[in-house]
C-alpha cells in the first residue's frame, strides 16, 4: 500500500514537472497522498521526510516551488530505486544449448566494430570488409552471429547473398530457430533467402515437411524455393500440383525436383506435349539417365513414334517441337529404345528437313534436323556416327567430328578431319576451339579423350597456340620449345597461358620459367595489353599447386617489383602462403 502511494506520488510529481512547479501549490491530488505517507512515516522515518517535503511543496510560493519540487522528486525517486522489483516467479526452464563450437579467439573490438558497421550500415566498400572478415574467421565469433543473420535483409543483394551462401551456413543448424522466427514475420526477397538457407540446413525429412507447408504460399519465390526443396521422394503429389502452377519459375523448380522422382515418369511423359514440354523433357532425360527398365523406355519411345508418324503423315510442322522434346527426353537413355528412336527419326531426316514452319510453330524442318544432328553427335552410337560421316561436309564438320571423337580411334579422327585445319580461318578455329575448350556439350571432358600426336605438330606448324597449349605434352620436344619461347617473352600477351600449359604438361623446369617471367616483368615496360594478360594470368594461375619452396622463390622475385600488376603477383602468392599457414594451424 505504501509503495503504491509512493509510486502515485512519483506520478503526480512527474505531472507537475511537466506542467510547471507553481501549480504544485495546494495541488489537490498531491495533498491526498500526504496523510498516507505520514501514517507510514510513524514506522519508517523516510516516509515522514517525504511527507514533510510534500507539505513544504504544497505550501511553497512560486519562487521557491522549483527547488521544493526538485527535492521532493529526488527523495521519492531515491526511495523507489531501493524498492525496485527484480524477482520473477514461475518454473525455471534451462536454456537449450546450441551445438555451435564457436571460436573464442580474442578479436580486437575495433576489428569487430568495423565488420559490425559493414553489416548494419549502408555505403560502398562493405562487402570487401565482410569478405575479408569471413576469410579471417571473424564470423566464428559469437557476437557477429545475430548481425550476420540480419544482413540477409540487406538492400545490397550481393552482400545478402554472400551471407546466405558463404557465411551463415558455417553456423550450421544452430541458426535454424532464428531463421524460422524471422521467416514467419517477414515478406519479400529476404524471406526467400531465409528459406533457401533453412532448406540447406534442415534434414531431408524436415526439409520436405517445410516445403509441403510452403507449397501454397502466396509469394511466388517462396513457392519456387519450396518446389525446388521437395526432392528426395515422398512429395510427388505436391510436386504435381506445383508443376501446374501459374508461374513459370515455380513450374521450372517443380520439374527440376521431379527429375529425381521415379514415380513421376508417367507425369513427365504426359507433360511433353504440353506448354512445359521443354521442362518435362529435361526432367525426363535426367530421370532416364539414372537407369529405368527398358519396357518403360520402350513405351515412351512408342508414344514418340506416334508423333513421328503423325508429323510425316500430316506434314504438320507444329508437331516437330513435341517430337524434339521426345527425342531430348529419351536421349537420357543411352541403351536401347532411346537410341533406336533417334536413329528411326534420323532415317527420316530428308523428309523432316523439308517441312515448312507452321504458323504457330517456332521451328521448321531445317532447325529440327540441326537439333537432331546435335543429339546424334552426343549419343555415342557408332551407327549415328556413320550417319553423320556419310554427310560429312568439311565446311561444317562439327557434329561428325564430335561423334567421331566419341566412337572412332584418334588416328581416324586426325585423318578425317585434319584437312579442316587447312581451310578458312573460321572453319579452322571452330575445330580448334572444340578441341581446346571442350566446353562444347558435344565433346567428352578433356581428360577422357586421346588425341593423335599429329594434331600437335599441325598446331605448331600453323601457329595455333591455343590448340598447341591444350595438347602440349612434356615428351614432345619441339612443342615444349615452342611453348617455352612464348612463356619467356614478357611482351607476349599469351606468355601466361604458355606458362600454365607447361605446368599442366608436367614440364620440370616450369617454376624457373615462372621466376624468369617475373624477373622480366620487373624490368619490362608494360603496355595495356600486357597488363590485361597479367590479370588473366593471375586469375587462372594455380598458386596452390606450387611447392612451398617454389612459392617462396617466386615471391622473393615478385616482392622486389614495382607496379600494380606485379603487386598482384605478390598479393596472390602471399595470400596463398597465409592460407597454407592458417589451414596447417587449423588442422
Amino acid at each position: 500500500m505504501t509503495i503504491a502511494a509512493l509510486r502515485e506520488t512519483a506520478i503526480e510529481l512527474r505531472r507537475l514537472t511537466i506542467a510547471g512547479s507553481p501549480l504544485a501549490r495546494g495541488d489537490f491530488r498531491l495533498k491526498k497522498l500526504v496523510p498516507v505517507l505520514q501514517q507510514t512515516g510513524k514506522k519508517a522515518a523516510v516516509f515522514a521526510t517525504i511527507a514533510g517535503a510534500l507539505e513544504t511543496l504544497l505550501e511553497s510560493p512560486k519562487a521557491q516551488s522549483a527547488q521544493h519540487l526538485l527535492r521532493a522528486t529526488t527523495l521519492v525517486n531515491a526511495v523507489l530505486a531501493t524498492q525496485l522489483k527484480h524477482r520473477v516467479e514461475g518454473e525455471l526452464v534451462p536454456l537449450e544449448a546450441a551445438d555451435l563450437h564457436l571460436s573464442n579467439r580474442p578479436v580486437a573490438a575495433k576489428t569487430m566494430r568495423e565488420i559490425l558497421e559493414a553489416l548494419s550500415s549502408t555505403g560502398s566498400g562493405r562487402l570487401e570488409v565482410i569478405v575479408e572478415g569471413h576469410r579471417s574467421g571473424y564470423f566464428r565469433d559469437l557476437r557477429l552471429m545475430l548481425p550476420a543473420l540480419r544482413a540477409l535483409d540487406d538492400r545490397y543483394s550481393e552482400l545478402a547473398e554472400f551471407m546466405e551462401q558463404e557465411v551463415l551456413p558455417t553456423y550450421g543448424r544452430a541458426i535454424l530457430p532464428h531463421l524460422q522466427r524471422a521467416f514467419a514475420q517477414e515478406k519479400g526477397y529476404a524471406q526467400v533467402r531465409r528459406l533457401r538457407l533453412m532448406l540447406r540446413l534442415l534434414s531431408d525429412a524436415e526439409r520436405r515437411a517445410l516445403c509441403i507447408e510452403l507449397a501454397e504460399s502466396d509469394v511466388l519465390e517462396v513457392r519456387a524455393a519450396a518446389a525446388g526443396g521437395l526432392t528426395g521422394g515422398g512429395a510427388t503429389k505436391e510436386l504435381f500440383v506445383l508443376a501446374k502452377d501459374r508461374a513459370h519459375e515455380v513450374r521450372a523448380a517443380a520439374y527440376g525436383a521431379l527429375a529425381t522422382e521415379p514415380d513421376a515418369l508417367d507425369f513427365l511423359a504426359k507433360a511433353i506435349p504440353t506448354q512445359d514440354g521443354q521442362l518435362a523433357s529435361t526432367a525426363l532425360a535426367t530421370l532416364l539417365a539414372q537407369g529405368v527398365q527398358d519396357p518403360v523406355t520402350q513405351g515412351l519411345a512408342e508414344q514418340a513414334d506416334a508423333y513421328l508418324a503423325n508429323v510425316l503423315e500430316r506434314k504438320k510442322a507444329h508437331h516437330l517441337r513435341k517430337l524434339l522434346h521426345w527425342l531430348r527426353a529419351l536421349a537420357g537413355d543411352k541403351r536401347g529404345p532411346g537410341i533406336e528412336l533417334l536413329l528411326r527419326v534420323a532415317a527420316q531426316r530428308a523428309a523432316l528437313s523439308k517441312l515448312p514452319a507452321a504458323v504457330k510453330a517456332d521451328i521448321d524442318g531445317r532447325h529440327f534436323v540441326e537439333r537432331l544432328d546435335e543429339l546424334l553427335a552426343t549419343c555415342g552410337d557408332e551407327r549415328a556416327t556413320e550417319m553423320l560421316l556419310e554427310r560429312l561436309n568439311l565446311k561444317a564438320p562439327r557434329h561428325a567430328f564430335e561423334a567421331s571423337v566419341r566412337t572412332r580411334n584418334p588416328a581416324f579422327v586426325y585423318d578425317t578431319f585434319h584437312a579442316v585445319m587447312a581451310r578458312k580461318r573460321r572453319d579452322r578455329e571452330l575445330l580448334s576451339d572444340q578441341i581446346v575448350c571442350g566446353y562444347d556439350e558435344g565433346l567428352p571432358p578433356r581428360g577422357e579423350v586421346a588425341w593423335d600426336p599429329r594434331w600437335l605438330d599441325l598446331a605448331i606448324a600453323r601457329n595455333d597456340r591455343q590448340l598447341a597449349f591444350m595438347l602440349l605434352t612434356a615428351s614432345h620436344g619441339p612443342a615444349i620449345q615452342y611453348a617455352e619461347d612464348i612463356a619467356s617473352d614478357p611482351k607476349d600477351h599469351e606468355s601466361g597461358d604458355a606458362l600454365l600449359a607447361l605446368r599442366d604438361a608436367g614440364y620440370a623446369r616450369w617454376s624457373s620459367l615462372l621466376d624468369r617471367r617475373i624477373a622480366a616483368q620487373r624490368t619490362g615496360r608494360h603496355s595495356t595489353k600486357t597488363y590485361w594478360s597479367d590479370q588473366r594470368f593471375l586469375e587462372s594461375f594455380p598458386f596452390d599447386a606450387l611447392s612451398d619452396q617454389e612459392l617462396a622463390d617466386a615471391e622473393a622475385h615478385a616482392a622486389k617489383m614495382k607496379g600494380s600488376a606485379e603487386a598482384q603477383y605478390t598479393t596472390r602468392m602471399a595470400e596463398e602462403r597465409f592460407r597454407r599457414r592458417t589451414s596447417t594451424k587449423g588442422s
Binding site: 514537472t17 519540487l69 522528486t73 566494430r113
Partner: protein
C-alpha cells in the same frame, strides 16, 4: 616480449590502420624483416608509395612502454608499416638477427635520457598557485549558481512549455559553464538539451529529461557543498572520497593522484567489458573499459576520450584480452567503479589461475542487487555493474532469467548501457556456460515498470572469458 595478433590489434591506432597493415603483410610488401640479438627490437623495410622503402621498427627496450618508429610521413603511431611488421612477427614469419641500425641506436639513447628527465620532473613536488585556485573556485561557484537559476526557471515553466528557444538558451548556458571551469556541468546541460530535443516518444523524452534535471540539481547541490568546503580549507584540498570533482569536470593529473596517495603498486587487471561510442553531448568518442583488479577484486573503469575534431590523431583504445600489469595504478576518487589510469604497463597472457581469481571475486546475486539499488538511487548514476556468480540461466515464460541460490533477476537487453543484443546470445554459447559460472552484469531500472533488470555483458568459466558485447 610476447607479440600475438591480439597485441598488434590493441597497439593499432584505429581499425583502418589494422586493415591496411594486414594487406601490406599479406601483399608481400615487407622487403626485409630483422630483429636485434637480444630480441628487444624488430625492424625492417616496407615498400610504400615512394621510391625508397620505409624503415619501420618496434622497440621493446622498455616493455612497458614500446616505441614505434617509421620513416614514413604518417602522423599515426604505430603506422601501418610498423603494424605490418608486427603482424608478420606475430604470424611467425622468419626474422633474421641483425645489428641495431645507427639511427635507431641514437634514438634509443635519447629515449633513455628523456625517460630519466620525466622521472626527475615527476619527483619534483608540484607548486599550486593557491590564489589562482581560489579564484577558480569562485568562478565555479558562480557558474553553479547560474546553473541553479536556469534549472529553477525550467522547473517553473514546466517541461511541457519547452520550445526550440529553450534549447538555444541551454546551449548558451552550456558555453558559459565551460568558461566557468565546469566542463562536467556543461556536459550535463548538453545532455539535458539532447533529452529535450530527442526525436522519440514524448513520454520517454520527459522521463529522460526529468532524470537529467535531477542529475543537474544533485550536481549543483553537491558541487556547491564541495566547493565551499574546499574554499574554506586553507590548503584547498580536493575531495578524495567522492567523485564530485571529476563530475564537475576536474581533469585529475597523475601527479595529483600520487600526492593524494590514490594509487596502488604492482596492480594486475583483467578487462571484462569494452565499449566505444560517440557521446554527442561531450562531442567526443568515448572508449570505456570495465576491468577487475585481480588483487583487490574491485571493478574499475578506464575511460579514453577522443574529441571528434582530433579523433583520428589520437590513439584509439580497444578491447584487451591479456592481463594488464602496471607498477603503479592510479585511482580516481570514488568508491564504486572508480576510474583508473596508468603511466606505464606491460602485459602477460591470461592463465587458468587468473580465471579462478576472477571467479572468486564474484558476488552473490542478492548482494549485487543490493549494491546496484544503492548506487542507482543516486541520481548521478544510471547504470551499475557487478560481477555475479550464478547457478543457472533459464527461461521463465518469455523472460530469460539468471538464478543464483533463491534469488533471480530478469535479463533484458534494455537494461544495460550497450546497444548489442546479448541476451539472445546466451542460447548460442556453449552449454557449460549455462550453469555455475560467473557473469558481468549491468543493472538498470526499467522506466515505468518499477523493476530492476540486468544485461549480461560477459560470462566467465574456469576455462574462458566469453564477451557478449563489443
Amino acid at each position: 616480449m610476447s607479440i600475438d595478433e591480439a597485441f598488434v590489434d590493441s597497439a593499432a591506432p584505429n581499425a583502418a590502420a589494422l586493415t591496411k597493415a594486414r594487406k601490406l603483410a599479406r601483399g608481400g610488401k615487407l622487403l626485409a624483416r630483422h630483429q636485434d640479438a637480444d630480441g628487444t627490437l624488430i625492424f625492417g623495410e616496407c615498400a610504400g608509395s615512394g621510391k625508397q622503402a620505409y624503415r619501420p621498427s618496434a622497440d621493446f627496450q622498455d616493455p612497458s612502454n614500446p616505441v614505434y618508429r617509421c620513416t614514413c610521413p604518417s602522423r599515426q603511431f604505430p603506422c601501418k608499416h610498423t603494424l605490418a611488421l608486427l603482424y608478420a612477427f606475430a604470424s611467425g614469419e622468419a626474422f633474421t638477427v641483425a645489428d641495431v641500425p645507427e639511427d635507431i641506436a641514437a634514438k634509443r639513447a635519447k629515449q633513455v635520457a628523456r625517460a630519466e628527465n620525466r622521472k626527475a620532473r615527476a619527483a619534483k613536488p608540484k607548486k599550486v598557485n593557491k590564489r589562482a585556485l581560489a579564484k577558480k573556485i569562485d568562478a565555479q561557484l558562480d557558474g553553479l549558481a547560474t546553473l541553479e537559476t536556469l534549472l529553477h526557471d525550467l522547473m517553473r515553466s514546466g517541461l511541457g512549455a519547452i520550445t526550440a528557444k529553450t534549447a538555444a538558451v541551454l546551449e548558451k548556458q552550456a558555453k558559459q559553464l565551460g568558461d566557468a571551469y565546469l566542463p562536467g556541468a556543461q556536459y550535463a546541460v548538453r545532455q539535458l538539451a539532447g533529452a529535450l530535443g530527442a526525436d522519440e516518444n514524448p513520454e520517454a523524452a520527459y522521463d529522460h529529461a526529468i532524470a537529467q534535471l535531477l542529475r543537474i540539481a544533485t550536481l549543483c547541490k553537491r558541487g556547491v557543498t564541495y566547493l565551499e568546503a574546499r574554499k574554506a580549507d586553507p590548503e584547498l584540498t580536493p575531495d578524495t572520497r567522492t567523485p564530485i570533482a571529476a563530475w564537475l569536470g576536474h581533469a585529475w593529473q597523475l601527479s595529483e593522484l600520487r600526492a593524494l596517495e590514490l594509487f596502488e603498486e604492482n596492480a594486475e587487471l583483467v578487462q571484462l567489458y569494452f565499449r566505444a561510442y560517440d557521446d554527442l553531448a561531450r562531442r567526443e568518442r568515448v572508449e570505456l573499459g570495465v576491468w577487475l583488479n585481480l588483487k583487490s577484486g574491485a571493478l574499475q573503469q578506464t575511460l579514453n576520450y577522443r574529441p571528434h575534431r582530433a579523433e583520428r590523431f589520437m590513439k584509439e583504445a580497444s578491447s584487451f584480452h591479456h592481463v594488464r600489469q602496471t607498477p603503479c595504478l592510479y585511482r580516481y576518487p570514488g568508491e564504486t567503479l572508480p576510474r583508473v589510469r596508468w603511466d606505464e604497463a606491460s602485459e602477460r597472457p591470461l592463465d587458468p589461475r587468473d580465471l579462478a581469481t576472477l571467479r572468486s571475486h564474484a558476488l552473490d546475486l542478492s548482494a549485487a542487487i543490493k549494491a546496484a539499488k544503492g548506487r542507482l538511487k543516486d541520481p548521478l548514476y544510471e547504470t551499475a555493474f557487478a560481477l555475479v556468480r550464478y547457478d543457472q540461466l533459464g527461461r521463465v515464460g518469455d523472460a530469460t532469467v539468471l538464478q543464483s541460490g533463491d534469488e533471480r533477476i530478469v535479463l533484458n537487453d534494455d537494461a544495460g548501457c550497450d546497444p548489442m543484443e546479448t541476451v539472445a546470445l546466451l542460447e548460442l554459447v556453449d552449454g557449460a556456460l549455462h550453469r555455475n559460472q560467473v557473469a558481468l552484469l549491468a543493472f538498470r531500472p526499467q522506466a515505468g515498470a518499477h523493476s530492476l533488470h540486468a544485461k549480461p555483458l560477459t560470462l566467465i568459466s574456469e576455462a574462458q572469458i566469453v564477451r557478449l558485447a563489443l
